[in-house]
Symmetry: C2
Subunit: 331 residues, 2 copies
Amino acid sequence: MSLKELAAHLNLSTTTLSLVLNGSPTAGSIPQETQKRIFSAARELNYRPNYLARSLRVQRTHTLGVIVPELSDGYSAMVLNGVESILSDQGFFYMTASHLHRSDLLERLPQVLADRQVEGIIAVDTPVRFALLPMVNVSGHDEIDGVTNVILDHWKAAELGIGHLFELGHRRIAVIKGQDFSSDTEIRWQTIRDAACARAIPIDERLVEQLKGDSPSPELGYSAMKTLLSRGEKFSAVFAFNDISAIGAIRALREAGRRVPEDVSVLGFDDIYAAAYHNPALTTVKQPLFEMGKLAAETLLDRLTATNQPAPAVLTVEPQLIVRGSTAACE
Amino acid sequence: MSLKELAAHLNLSTTTLSLVLNGSPTAGSIPQETQKRIFSAARELNYRPNYLARSLRVQRTHTLGVIVPELSDGYSAMVLNGVESILSDQGFFYMTASHLHRSDLLERLPQVLADRQVEGIIAVDTPVRFALLPMVNVSGHDEIDGVTNVILDHWKAAELGIGHLFELGHRRIAVIKGQDFSSDTEIRWQTIRDAACARAIPIDERLVEQLKGDSPSPELGYSAMKTLLSRGEKFSAVFAFNDISAIGAIRALREAGRRVPEDVSVLGFDDIYAAAYHNPALTTVKQPLFEMGKLAAETLLDRLTATNQPAPAVLTVEPQLIVRGSTAACE
DNA sequence: TTGTTTTAGTAAATCGTTTTAGTAATCAAG
DNA sequence: CTTGATTACTAAAACGATTTACTAAAACAA
């Protein structure tokens, strides 16, 4: 049932129907009676405008592209939840694409999304080098023209985390760094190092180990902790890159006969759903992932709808320390 | 840069360009030299066909709709991963929509996706009453015309789970049922009950409790177990609806002073990433979620591309028992 | 030489909307 | 009685591709 058929059925032109159905101001001159005829015929014959045709004509698709490393890594899913909550309110849809850390996809995805006529792109934890379209990068750290970065206050996050461990009396703190491909890896590491130095407990380089591989499983944290333990260097606490790796680290510690938190305190990052229910419950630095997604979506939509809204370069959100059972005072 | 502009630039018609660029058989009569001119001009001027225009004309969007309860529940994300792995190979994209168990959205989403001209819909753990479009329902249990259900062999899953607990000597087994809105709740419960009865250890109705609420957090399993414990009825094992609720249940058990698995064995379902690294590591009945997503996508694409492929009504996948540390012999 | 086929294209219709630029008919004012 | 505005519409041109149905010239066959 196209507009043309509906028009034929009513003995009116598609023009008239379009004006009336879209509530255009020009429709002011169309008598109420005709308008009613049109509306009720549309309803009865179940007329549904073809979104492609409309989008082609008005040059707006009300569709965004979303690029994530992987859907099931918890982090991305939470951000997407926030994104979707905003978009669905505004009648926008989005197409998701995962880059799986593959450089060919990283290169190509923005282009193929643009080819699909998305109006803008939200990237999550994804390195971005240029912007074909209005873009917001969640956890982006590069300053790029036309790209708004939504980032955590990393300095504060490190202060909260290291501060907490310091207050508990920990002086030899191990760190599990993120993979190089994670946007936050570098800044997280720097801020942690600075926070430790500021307290005169510099992080021993032999107490730093990096996650290896790209599985979203605790396995990587497990391996990292095994390596750390194998070095024989002493430490009483570990600051993990995220909750997932903290969970893996705890497993490795237990296997090595170290109790958590009695022998070693473990501090996570993110506050995923499972954190509160892990055993022991994870003390963690919470990122407001849902809010970051919302903020990203709101910012991008503002830019698309408002007239020539300038893109803010950076939007910062605040972390929060959630103290649970995986950290305790150092003996 | 539109086809028209490119054509003008080459002094050729859009027809010729279209034929050549799409490798149409009709282009056989166009000399190689002209073809080369066209291809290289397209490359140099970075011509990108407008997907809307093309889709409108050929009546194919290469886009699917995906309906899930919520993105961050682990289950959906894993299925989506499988879906995406197939779609991206075939040049398809998809639009995700979450229904959040809201009946208005459940009703409306298929329609708004259809309005967006998706070619088919994949629903995940979502009740479906009719099919506007070719559709595959992952964990669907209703027989609906035009809908293929991808389901787990629930009978076998129950046999594996109950069989495992039975062999360990458990005779009084508690069950945490899923919420009514979960597609698998009813069949899961029935098959578990049957498997228990077949071993002459019928499930005591006072040992059954249902998850309440729709958060994707272990909290629901925690509450359910608290209720179960508060009844004072004895049990030596519990079969949880999924890993998330099993994790919550373990927390409640520990708080009540019951050790897992020494005092109570806990059996999960799904085998999410965290299961292996929980403490204790979760024994669980694994669903091949990634494969289910792949299968759903493959089936739907087959139907869309092959000529009049009939839709299979049901596709069954096999569960697998993963024995870890949360179950042990009954004393 | 004539007729047919092949070669190398093109004009125009089409997909289903929106939007611009009208047009005829009625009405009010001067 | 003319002019100008208002009312109630519509024709046709977009949007940017694809596709059908041609044409005109060259090559080939009889």
